[in-house]
């Protein structure tokens, strides 16, 4: 079986490339398609779902919430997937954007060595880092911690060190468990 991930942009693709091999068993292949932002992603969903020919393919749609109403967005995307004949598509909303998943694991940022000898992980318990999904603009927050932070190269260096079982971001946990479940279901079938 193959899982096709539809992402909003490159930094998410780079992150998935690092963590998916740890989540998915060897016999499940994956393909990550990056888009040029939200409009591009949403227009692409119906075409990908309808036009895909290879059997035994599952889809995962990942969209940033960016401060909107995440339940509403998720319902809308689920509807689009059903309307295009793929009700089994896994839709996951990133709250609010990828960088929150990094802030949810400050130890990973320390290990990436983007700031020499940083000890951000000691701050993980304080209010503003305890629930990273609530941070309005996590990319800005990350830039504040890491001067000169760049989205793609930053994602490349941090993702390697992410601990999949200990992340303070609820949307990250929901994503990981969703993908694990998708893989398990496939194994049963």
């Amino acid at each position: 079986m193959t899982i096709v991930f539809l992402t909003e942009e490159k930094s998410m693709k780079v992150m998935l490339n690092e963590i998916l091999p740890q989540i998915l068993p060897m016999d499940i292949e994956f393909l990550i398609l990056e888009h040029e932002g939200k409009s591009d992603l949403e227009k692409s969903i119906p075409r990908k779902l309808k036009g895909w020919k290879t059997p035994n393919t599952h889809f995962v749609v990942l969209r940033d919430n960016d401060g909107a109403d995440c339940i509403q967005i998720k319902n809308r995307l689920v509807t689009i997937c059903s309307q295009n004949g793929r009700p089994d598509t896994l839709v996951r909303i990133v709250c609010q954007e990828l960088e929150a998943w990094f802030i949810g694991d400050l130890a990973a940022i320390d290990s990436a060595d983007l700031v020499r000898n940083s000890r951000f992980k000691e701050m993980q318990g304080i209010a503003k880092f305890r629930d990273p999904d609530k941070i309005v603009n996590p990319k800005d927050k990350l830039r504040h911690l890491i001067p000169g932070y760049q989205a793609v190269s930053g994602a490349r260096s941090i993702s390697k060190h992410l601990n999949l079982n200990q992340n303070r971001s609820a949307s990250f946990q929901t994503f990981v468990s969703g993908v694990q479940q998708l893989a398990n279901n496939a194994a049963v079938i």
């Binding site: 040029e36 939200k38 409009s39 591009d40 000169g148 190269s153």
Partner: protein
């Protein structure tokens, strides 16, 4: 150094162009012939004027009549730079103005050259250097800032010729520190005109810290970085390995006739390939990485269309690397036709040029409220550009 503003008059298609609040990283898009190369050539022109003289810089571009804007032949070409820089132990906003026009006999020369900055927070800017047709004055006890204007010592000077810039003539004297600082700054600008064929060859053994304009000293720069900044060189190699499938190592080695040649090691084969037989994109990526990992960055770096010969998915990260190179000390200007490159650029860095009635106008993406709104909603800049949101930039309306 930060170039905060740039005002150009009568330089080819740039008849009247004023860029304000220029960010450390600035990316320009626009139709063919909209003035992107001409904008970068303003910097090249200043470098040439400084390294040689104004007449040679004009000659290289076809002479005054070809350089001055059509229909404005009676006027002066003028370039005004406002630079925020460290000068005489303080951060200052320095204005450097050069005007070039024909003399009574129609021979072009420097009709006016001024260097001015404010000595205090308040008050009118003070002229530290003021020349016209090869004659003028410069202040030489600049460091004594508490003196009243009338007590500062002005030294009258005659330059070699009206075609010589005063910052060149005086910049070599230590007592004119302001002039020599500006001179050193402009001399270190890097306006890239990278020729793959030039960079692919071998070079006479020697020493080079910085990549040359055409890139022919690439093997020497690689050797320098390898021998003196090993960690940076290893960084470059790791990045090459990730981006160019197969590449494992790059070495600069001597040939029997005392030349230096680059060798690229493919992990699948025993013998390395010499640079002449390596793909254009491989050479170009290697040259950019050496440029971007330069331990002493250029105060200003101008690169045209870095996307040529490179695989599209590498471009967003390349854009990030140019952005990382830029800082308070180094500014980067890039022109591009690549939406993939632009997708990796912050909105505040994006400008587009367009031609109106034969001359160039400049627009700033961050000043368009719809573009700002759409990017905040999650669209990427390159995507919006392709969709036609940079209205004036598109050749077909």
């Amino acid at each position: 150094m930060q170039l905060e503003s740039l005002a150009i008059k009568n330089f080819k298609v740039l008849q009247n162009l004023h860029l304000k609040n220029i960010p450390p990283f600035a990316v320009f898009v626009g139709a063919n012939g909209s003035g992107k190369s001409t904008l970068f050539d303003v910097f090249g022109f200043l470098c040439d004027s400084l390294n040689h003289n104004v007449r040679q810089a004009l000659q290289k571009r076809g002479g005054f009549k070809e350089v001055v804007s059509r229909g404005h032949e009676e006027e002066c070409i003028s370039v005004e730079l406002k630079l925020r820089m460290r000068l005489l132990d303080k951060d200052r906003l320095v204005t450097y103005l050069v005007e070039i026009g024909p003399d009574a006999n129609g021979i072009p020369g420097v009709s006016r050259e001024i260097l001015r900055f404010k000595r205090q927070e308040f008050g009118a800017p003070y002229h530290f250097l003021d020349f016209s047709w090869g004659k003028g004055f410069a202040v030489f006890n600049e460091e004594d800032f508490d003196k009243l204007d009338e007590n500062l010592d002005r030294e009258h000077q005659d330059l070699e010729s009206p075609s010589t810039l005063a910052i060149k003539g005086l910049g070599q004297f230590q007592r004119f520190r302001a002039a020599s600082t500006i001179r050193a700054l402009i001399e270190n600008w890097h306006v890239s005109d990278f020729h793959i064929s030039a960079a692919q060859g071998s070079v006479e053994a020697g020493f080079a810290e910085h990549l040359s304009t055409h890139g022919e000293n690439l093997p020497l720069v690689a050797q320098y970085l390898y021998e003196n900044h090993r960690a940076e060189f290893d960084n470059v190699l790791r990045t090459m390995e990730r981006r160019i499938p197969g590449i494992k190592n790059v070495t600069a080695s001597s040939t029997t006739d005392g030349r230096i040649v680059l060798k690229f090691q493919d992990g699948n084969f025993h013998d390395p390939f010499i640079s002449r037989h390596v793909s254009d994109g491989t050479i170009k990526m290697f040259a950019y990485l050496l440029l971007l990992h330069d331990p002493t960055p250029h105060p200003l770096l101008c690169i045209e269309e870095p996307e040529n010969q490179l695989y599209p998915s590498l471009l967003a990260e390349l854009a990030e690397e140019f952005s990382s190179y830029s800082s308070n000390e180094a500014q980067v200007f890039v022109s591009t036709h690549s939406p993939d490159f632009l997708n990796g650029v912050e909105l505040n860095s994006i400008f587009w040029l367009s031609k109106d009635k034969g001359f160039t106008n400049v627009y700033r993406a961050a000043e368009d409220e719809n573009i700002v709104g759409l990017v905040n909603e999650g669209d990427l800049p390159g995507y919006l550009w392709k969709a036609g949101m940079f209205r004036e930039a598109d050749p077909v309306q």
